[in-house]
Structures are given as structure tokens and as C-alpha cells.
Symmetry: C2
Subunit: 214 residues, 2 copies
């Protein structure tokens, strides 16, 4: 089994590393970071780089694809080589997945048309604009297409996948080893729960940070 | 304000990237990945590398230090250059922090002696062996020393820090933008909650994966 996590300039680090950290612990699952070119790929803030170990061409048939998001996904969603790789890989994947605005990249490749899917709460309209049936759930399964909400939700998505692929005990062991027993000191993690003035602030001041290709 | 996240061969990726993703969103906080040498640093599984942008020598006075853990922290805990940098930086930090077995590195530098602290649940005895008063809490504050439990707990630690440094609204905005509204499909994230046979499995089969320098 091989899991390919796509990197592209401007990706959000935790979108990629959350699923990585859980999925690579599955026995027999080779987890590789892939990009158009090998070498360091810079994140959305420009102060972190993850190294792509393989090119897209070297990774033609992953069993699982994970597409992380970012505030601006055009480096992936407007790149014909990335879209072509996604379409070709998807033809043979067991699971095609995204975190956050990575769903906009899958949508740009035409893979989510008519499907139920989710994305970062601030990008929901953009995703709907691709003919996707958006939902407010944190992790959405539609057949083999699995999409997760914003940034940190990729951890929950990975646990769901581990359970489906390897069973509840495998998922539990990985949850225990990564001590994923979340205890956030605030309850502001979704627009339904956060104080209204914080939601308004994000929609206003920070909207330009989520300007997906739509 | 500057936050330095230490990288060393064998670190666990999510230990570093969880706090990174939240802390770098604090306005005016330059967040840098640092290591003894610049360039790619490989993780515990050998299939992910993060790029260290600065050397320890180039980062003498960070305001916040974050030390990630790993199944084997000897590359940091047995490196005199790392320990000397930690002690010198700590003399001027506002917060000195660790995630997971990163606490064993702080302890090896002598910074946790007699203090309350935590670590990965499987490394608790090793940490106690350094003269540390261990606790089962997920995030432990003892003055400016902040330690978090295993792997994913660094996200919770970062939220606590954001609240202390920038106030509840800042922490809430970052939680909302990273959509940290955890909904794990299992409740196996701590040894108190996981089924006993999974705890036993980890203690037996996987114990060699957590062999800290103690």
C-alpha cells in the first residue's frame, strides 16, 4: 500500500502533516510526500518547507492520495500537470482524499462533481461553485472520496481511514500512540461554536487569506 | 517576538508542526525551524524531512522555544551543542516548552529538575528519572516551563500559549481558522481511555519505539 501526500507551493503545513503522522503508522503503508519537482516545497507562510521525496511521475499509482489545502491553492489547482496526475492516480486509488481547501484542487480536477464533500468553512461557497454538494460535517465520505474540513480536521479524517482500512484496533493503537485525546482550552473551532465577533473578524479581516481558485 | 522550533534527526513530525501551525499565526511572532546544521532534517520514520532555516548559532535569543519529541531523542539529548543552546536560550526565554518526549531533552539540559512536567504516556518513568515531578495532565504549566503530552498534544499547548500571550480572542481566531473542533471517531487517545488490550499492545510490542535517553 502506498499513500501519496501532494505538496505544492503555499500548502498549509498541518493539512499535510496531520494525516501523514497517523497514516504512516499503518503497517505496510509506504507514505510519501510528492510534488511536481523533488526538493523543498514552501508552505503558506513561507517559513516552513517540507521536502518532496518523489515527483508525481515517480508516483503514478498510489492507493491513497491526500491533497492538503492552503489559503491560495492556485499553484495546484491551476497546474495542468497536477490535475492530470490527480485524474490518472484517481483512476486506480482506493481512497482519494483532501484536507481543507485541498477539496478545491480535487474539484478543479473534476473529481468531486456532484459529490458530497467539505472544505474549510470559509471556502464552502467556492467549493459549491464547482458543482459539489457541500456539507458542514467535519469528515465526509462519498464512496472512495473523503474530504475533511479546515486544517486540523485531517487528523480526524486519518483516524476514520485507519479504522476503515485496518479496523478499530489499528485506529485505536495509532490514536493512543499519538495521544490524540484533544482538550482544547477554548470551544471556538467552528463557525457554529465560536463567538460571533470572531467569526465576523475572520470573514472580514482574514477573507483574503482564503482566496481559492474557484 | 521569535519562536524557535528545534529539529533534530528522529523528531516526530506532528510534534513540531502542530505548535508551528498555530503559533506562527500570532501577529508579530517570527516562527523559525532551527537545527544544529541548516537544511533537511529527517523524522522518526525516515520518510519526511523538514528544512531547518536557521542554525542554533543564528538563533541565540528566541522568546519561545519548542522542543518536539520522538521515539528516540538521543540525537538531541546527547548532543552537547543542543543542550548548551537550550540552556543559553532558556536564560532569556519567555516560554520554554516541549511536546511529547521533547521533555526528555529539556530534562537532559537540566531545565526541568524539580519541576512539574509531562511527556508521552510511555515515557513518564523516564522523565521522572530526571528528577521531574510528572503529572498526567495534557498540558502542564510550571512558571515559564510548559510541557505537553504525546504528539498531538502540542496543538492544545499552542492554544494555551496563544491565550496567555495574546488573549482569548487571538486564541479563538487561530482555533477557528485552523478549524480545531476535534471529533475523533474513537476515544482511545490516552491510556486511561483506550481499551486495555490496546494499552498492553503498545507497552509490549511498541515499547522499543519509545526508548528515550534516561
Amino acid at each position: 500500500m502506498q499513500t501519496a501526500i501532494l505538496l505544492y507551493p503555499g500548502f498549509t503545513a498541518l493539512d499535510a502533516v496531520g494525516p501523514f503522522e497517523l497514516l504512516h503508522r499503518m503497517p505496510g503503508n509506504e507514505t510519501v510526500l510528492v510534488a511536481r519537482e523533488p526538493g523543498p516545497v514552501g508552505n503558506d507562510s513561507g517559513n516552513l518547507a517540507l521536502v518532496a521525496e518523489r515527483t508525481l511521475a515517480e508516483t503514478p499509482r498510489p492507493d491513497i492520495v491526500v491533497v492538503p489545502g492552503g489559503p491560495d491553492v492556485r499553484a495546484a489547482a491551476d497546474d495542468p500537470a497536477v490535475l492530470e496526475w490527480l485524474r490518472a492516480a484517481d483512476a486506480a486509488t482506493t481512497w482519494t482524499t483532501s484536507v481543507c481547501t485541498g477539496a478545491l484542487v480535487l474539484a478543479a480536477a473534476g473529481l468531486l462533481t456532484g459529490r458530497r464533500a467539505t472544505t474549510h468553512w470559509m471556502a464552502m461557497d467556492s467549493l459549491a461553485g464547482h458543482g459539489v454538494r457541500t456539507t458542514g460535517e467535519r469528515v465526509v465520505f462519498d464512496g472512495k472520496y473523503v474530504t475533511a474540513a479546515g486544517v486540523s480536521s485531517g487528523i480526524d479524517m486519518a483516524l476514520h481511514l485507519l479504522g476503515r482500512i485496518g479496523g478499530d484496533d489499528l485506529a485505536g493503537i495509532v490514536q493512543l500512540m499519538t495521544e490524540y485525546d484533544p482538550q482544547p482550552p477554548y470551544d471556538a473551532g467552528s463557525p457554529d461554536k465560536a463567538p460571533a465577533h470572531l467569526v465576523d473578524f475572520c470573514r472580514g479581516e482574514l477573507a483574503s487569506e482564503v482566496t481559492p481558485s474557484a
